[in-house]
């Protein structure tokens, strides 16, 4: 029977062993699709234009929310950590919306965990492993490097120079 269903099945040698192989089932594969989207065809539960537009609206609202931290409305301007935590929460929410709905991960089978969880773990470990060398590189610094690197004092110096207006409008005098 695999010979019979093979023209319809673009996978060539791959045949679903567990599938019922009655002639009607083989005919079912002739649906004209070049690929196995059985679960996509079987029940049209996912997608729907309305749902996509709802997700789009949510994404726009979330982008505006993270942009709010930049505006004068944001009440915690003197505490940047509040804004950072808020923005990361908003970004993660947006990322989840895109992955779950636009990338259809919500409706995929369990293979999604096989591919995404190890990659995500590797990504987290990779960033963490940078912390001791790179993240803490300025805890102990050689004297000759201090001479050349920017330090908070340099920023203050620049701000002072801007405030003092040493050369402000000599034409006025």
């Amino acid at each position: 029977m695999s010979e019979h269903s093979s023209p319809a099945d673009s996978h060539g040698p791959i045949t679903r062993v567990g599938a019922p192989s009655s002639p009607t089932a083989a005919h079912d594969h002739d649906g004209g699709h070049g690929h196995h989207d059985d679960h996509a065809d079987g029940h049209e539960s996912h997608g729907g234009i309305g749902q996509y537009l709802a997700v789009f609206a949510a994404l726009c609202v979330l982008t505006t929310m993270s942009f709010l931290t930049y505006s004068s409305v944001w009440p915690w301007r003197d505490q940047p950590h509040v804004g950072w935590a808020f923005m990361m929460a908003v970004s993660c929410t947006k990322a989840m919306l895109v992955v779950l709905f636009f990338m259809h991960v919500l409706w995929e089978a369990n293979w999604k965990y096989v591919l995404t969880i190890p990659a995500a773990m590797m990504a987290i470990f990779l960033a963490l492993m940078l912390v001791p060398d790179v993240g803490l590189r300025n805890r102990m610094v050689a004297q000759e490097r201090v001479l050349h690197m920017a330090r908070p004092g340099d920023l203050r110096l620049m701000e002072q120079a801007a405030e003092m207006q040493v050369l402000a409008d000599p034409a006025a005098h």
Binding site: S21, H36, F102, N138, V166
Partner: protein, 326 residues
Amino acid sequence: MNASAHSIPHGHDDRDAHGHDDHGAGHGHIVLQYQPGLPLSKGKLIMWLFLSTEIMFFAALLGSYVVLRFGAAVWPKPHHVHLSEPIGAFNTFVLICSSVTIVLALEAAKANKVAMAKNWMLTTLLLGSLFLGIKGYEYSAKFSHGIYPAQPHSRIYEKPDLYYGAAVRARLGEPAIIEQLKTLDETPEDKLGSDEASARRRLQKIRQMVTSPDQQPFDLAVVADQIMPLPSEGTGGHGGHAEGLNDIFPWLRLPAVIPGGNMWASTYFLLTGFHAIHVAVGLLVFAILLSYRLDRKRAGMIENAGLYWHFVDLVWIFLFPLLYLF
């Protein structure tokens, strides 16, 4: 497939093996039946495997950025490096729109609405191009301020120290600049605009300051502030900051001071550059897809291109707050 049950990996498939067709056709002919490892098409599997490597790729870049940024003694504020938050937010909006349009293209193709799928795909292509165009505009704004990822184009100095003073002197001593300064000095006052006249006086003053033998360390901070001031907080990105001499006389291109600016430029151009390359590749894929008839048979291809595009969008979702708002 007569009675070749030994070729089938699972005993419970005996029902299949003793099937009713092709009796007598293939005696001794072993028919192998493979079980697919994952219940998805090859193309989609490859795309997801590729995306999982991309997760690690961008996680490495973003992770390095975060670690470098929070480990730095000084990191420039977004307006110090002339980033415009509204432009970044608008670009985020453009990418989100393009994510929706590619999903709509896929839905149209699944429903066999060929013309509609093509229109949505074309919209996606245009939105992606708009994103790249805005990105290019932002890059050119950086370049015009002397912010480049590396020497020799970069004119960014970390602090207003003696090395900075030497660099300003060296630039003012270049023959072409000497020539320009001479014509500027000889221009009558009434030929100059009001801000140009005032800027000429400031320029003459800092030329004395950088060469003066009794120069004080603070003088170089004043010089740096005159050449390119660090915009103060709350002025709203590019808009409200005081005009530096580099802005008023674009031919000057004097070295400027942005504390932490060099590491910032390296990470900014690396992150946004790799992201822009990904966008460009996506646009190429869309252009190729547009040459096909986007009917139900192409739905798989559109889905895979869409998966890639959503990932590119995903990266920007994290890049935007990290680069523009942190």
